[in-house]
Symmetry: C2
Subunit: 505 residues, 2 copies
């Protein structure tokens, strides 16, 4: 909880030694696709030392509601790298999502999802798609902070933080640099959410400016999503807050034509997790039918992450060459199929092509860190985020939210003014209902719920108030029988307004 600078996670890049990784074989088709994947990694000369942990169904059914035991946490904390096959969460209540547990516990802030079309080997309406979605993974509306406020009104908090934005945006640009990507697109709704999404975009501009060789682009999320759904070939790397990223990454994955080929990474400051995006498919488990490609491409992301760019390129190209040869598992039959094979035979086909490049697909070439460092004159690893110096904060008012059913907003305003009369430091400035101004000078047509946002500001022009004034105000309103259900302080930070103006202000 110290506020020193953090840097991007840097596992052991020493080429002479083996990098320990934690491996979970998972459930259903997990063991067979993991076996296939590790065989390919081994044959390609990956410099890794896997250690196996048990997670998933067996652990859940053994009475551990999270599906992961202390020994697995210990391994993860030590190796910092987790290659994970799909698991089965038993049906019935009480079992927590293992991915959510690992993400929350380990602070995995970035979800990385390459979405690539492989036409004509995989049927898709969008044959030229090759993009990566970098989704913020910890904040936004997903903090789970919800309150029922009144009889009629429910609330969820959307939280966007500066370090959260810095971490995800920094990761996106570093990812672009390390993966030969040319452009990063930011998608936000900052025309409406000027402060929260506005912060995300501001950080995008600040950090992006440090990567002059990478193009920056911005879309409002609605138009951006429409463009993604119709012309995905326009995009390269997309960085976006949690909710938008959730929606976009599902859209993009489905547009490629197969979710069976996609790998995914979840990146934290301490640990990174790599996996396929598909599930454990228990119906075909143990039959040597499953396609190991999603997990294999997850493992390729892992190799890039731990600095084994050479091995990652070799495997990725051999896999593309295999696809081009028309060799595929049963899930991807097409007119181009020359051989329909089982899981292990598919792995053998990839192994047989190690060292080959694809012909019709563009060959992959992950930049070796040495080369990249030389090209950029051995630039240091940038700070993941920079703790800001505390701003000079001034308390200038408070929004009080009331549960009430007045006959009219004017009557509520009068009650508030009477009740707050003795608190001389503040005055009532406006009342909103669902963001629409109802006092002073409301419109007759405005539909009002039982939830009123009442803004009190300093009586003195441009003045400040104290926390004590807010306590007095609350006390006075409570004495008057008014039901204050929520407060939000109004502050300035270094003289800049830290709250949105109400409609008509």
């Amino acid at each position: 909880m110290k506020f020193e600078s953090h840097t991007l996670l840097q596992p052991n890049h020493d080429l002479g030694t083996l990098t320990p990784i934690t491996v979970a074989y998972g459930d259903g088709i997990g063991p067979e696709i993991m076996q296939a994947t590790l065989r390919i990694l081994q044959a390609a000369g990956a410099r890794i030392a896997p250690e196996t942990v048990d997670i998933g169904e067996k652990v859940y059914l053994g009475g551990n509601s999270a599906g992961i035991e202390d020994s697995a946490w210990e391994s993860l904390r030590r190796t910092k790298v987790f290659l994970k096959a799909p698991i089965t969460t038993p049906s019935g209540g009480g079992y927590k999502s293992l991915n959510v547990t690992v993400r929350k516990t380990m602070g995995l802030y970035a979800n990385v999802r390459p979405c690539v079309s492989y036409s004509p080997y995989v049927q898709t309406l969008h044959p030229k798609m090759d993009l990566v979605i970098v989704r913020e993974n910890e904040e936004d509306l997903y903090a789970g902070i919800e309150h029922r406020q009144t009889d009629e009104v429910f609330q969820c908090l959307k939280l966007i933080t500066r370090p959260g934005c810095e971490k995800i945006v920094r990761y996106a640009f570093e990812y672009a640099k390390n993966n030969g990507r040319k452009k990063v697109t930011c998608m936000v709704k900052d025309n409406i959410m000027k402060m929260t999404d506005g912060l995300f975009y501001k950080v995008f501009e600040e950090i992006g400016a440090q990567y002059p060789s990478i193009e920056r682009e911005r879309y409002i999320i609605d138009i951006g999503a429409a463009r993604l759904a119709t012309r995905p070939e326009l995009f390269d790397v997309i960085v976006t807050p949690n909710l938008y990223g959730d929606i976009l990454s599902d859209i993009a994955a489905e547009m490629t034509g197969s979710v069976g080929l996609a790998g995914s990474a979840n990146i934290g400051e301490h640990v990174a997790m790599f996996e396929a995006i598909h599930g454990s498919a228990p119906d075909i488990a143990g039959q040597d039918k499953a396609n190991p490609s999603g997990l294999l491409l997850g493992a390729v992301m892992m190799l890039v992450h731990i600095g084994q760019h050479d091995v990652a390129s070799k495997i990725h190209n051999a896999w593309l060459a295999t696809l081009e040869a028309g060799i595929t598992t049963a899930d991807l039959q097409s007119a181009k199929t020359t051989a329909s094979v089982g899981t292990q035979a598919f792995a053998d086909a990839v192994i047989a092509r190690l060292g080959q490049l694809p012909h019709s697909f563009k060959a992959v070439r992950y930049a070796a860190p040495g080369a990249a460092a030389a090209a950029s004159q051995a630039e240091p690893t940038p700070a993941l985020y920079t703790p800001a110096a505390p701003a000079s904060k001034a308390l200038v008012g408070v929004d009080l939210f009331l549960h009430a059913r007045p006959e009219h907003a004017d009557a509520l305003a009068a009650s508030l003014q009477t009740a707050a009369g003795e608190v001389l430091a503040v005055k009532l400035q406006m009342i909103n209902n669902r963001g629409v101004k109802v006092w002073p000078q409301g419109f007759a047509e405005t539909f009002c719920t039982d939830h009123w946002r009442c803004r009190f500001v300093a009586s003195a022009n441009m003045g400040v108030i104290s926390q004590r004034d807010i306590v007095s105000l609350l006390s006075a309103l409570t004495d008057a029988g008014l039901d204050v259900i929520k407060t939000e302080n109004l502050c300035t930070f270094d003289g800049e307004r830290g709250y949105a103006l109400g409609q008509g202000q």
Copy 2:
């Protein structure tokens, strides 16, 4: 602001008289496409009495920052129906969006967007698309309530209300019934936002059950959006909260291949507005080049809304027959084009086909209200929403949010416990940071911002506290120099928990 039952907006359905409507010719291509549209309506025998108002560029530049004058408001309030051509908002700051102003002032709660493919006359990857998005238009994150909370953390409130949900869901099912639609799909993220999105889905189930002839379906928004982007033919009517609807309606409109053919409605309790979704295209204004189809289809929605189903069907079918004949304006050239015509000639071609049905497209048949009423044994117009009786509410705790930079969450907990020691009614239960539990028993890896949610609950097991206890607690923490920036009461409603549990609770 009275809480009587409201009913669906019911303009004059009397067949013998003319229905007054307010018409704005707008800017750019507005006048010529409005002229074409009104000529078609007149030729088709629409029983309307248009009265013209001035809005838009001229009004903005005349010094009215909203672009709409009192005389226009007066007309709108009287006729309750607004057919609006696109307008131009002058460049430069200070001009407010006219659509936002009308929506907020008049409480237009439903945005209705039919998205239809017209393959092969309009090129699209999705030739079988024929769906309608009914988007909630007033609440969700769009209330514009944002606060900077600390040096690092910014917040936006997502508000979902029961009357808001009831109005939009009721509208969606009534729309389906009146437009011959068979299924309504609800898209929410209620696996994460169990209270807010959970309420929307609960209301969807409640109200949907009153329409047994219409199928109900639910998607989680991420998967639903992916399905929409890849298989739009699966959908009929989609009803969804504001933000999701914003994204989905842009995706669907762009997938049809042309945004130039789409009309849109904004429905309120007092007024309804109909328009094209495209803009005023000043570059081709006055050249008789513009396609009037978007505004015309908006006008068809208006005719259905005011009960002139017969005229709406006649115009819609004539327009489809014109499209099939290969007659089109310059924006839609294709291999099927037989005649490329101007705006007014296109209108003439539609007029010439009034009374014809399309051959390859399915003919439209809007149900006359008489027939629908007879079929349902003259059921009464349902209430738009039902004000709920106040629940029995009990205050059981409070979430206090602190701006702080402690060395460790344990230290913050100790400070809070010391400061709150004299407030015997409450005890500290947990501390979260961005929704992740940090006390008691936090994880070393959790990244902490300077924003702490501290939950106090009644000391007595299952006990209640008073608003006065919260005032005392705030007072004690203020005395101890702790910076409380926000509060959220924890209540039960009729014994049901009105707040989400924290992680690990």
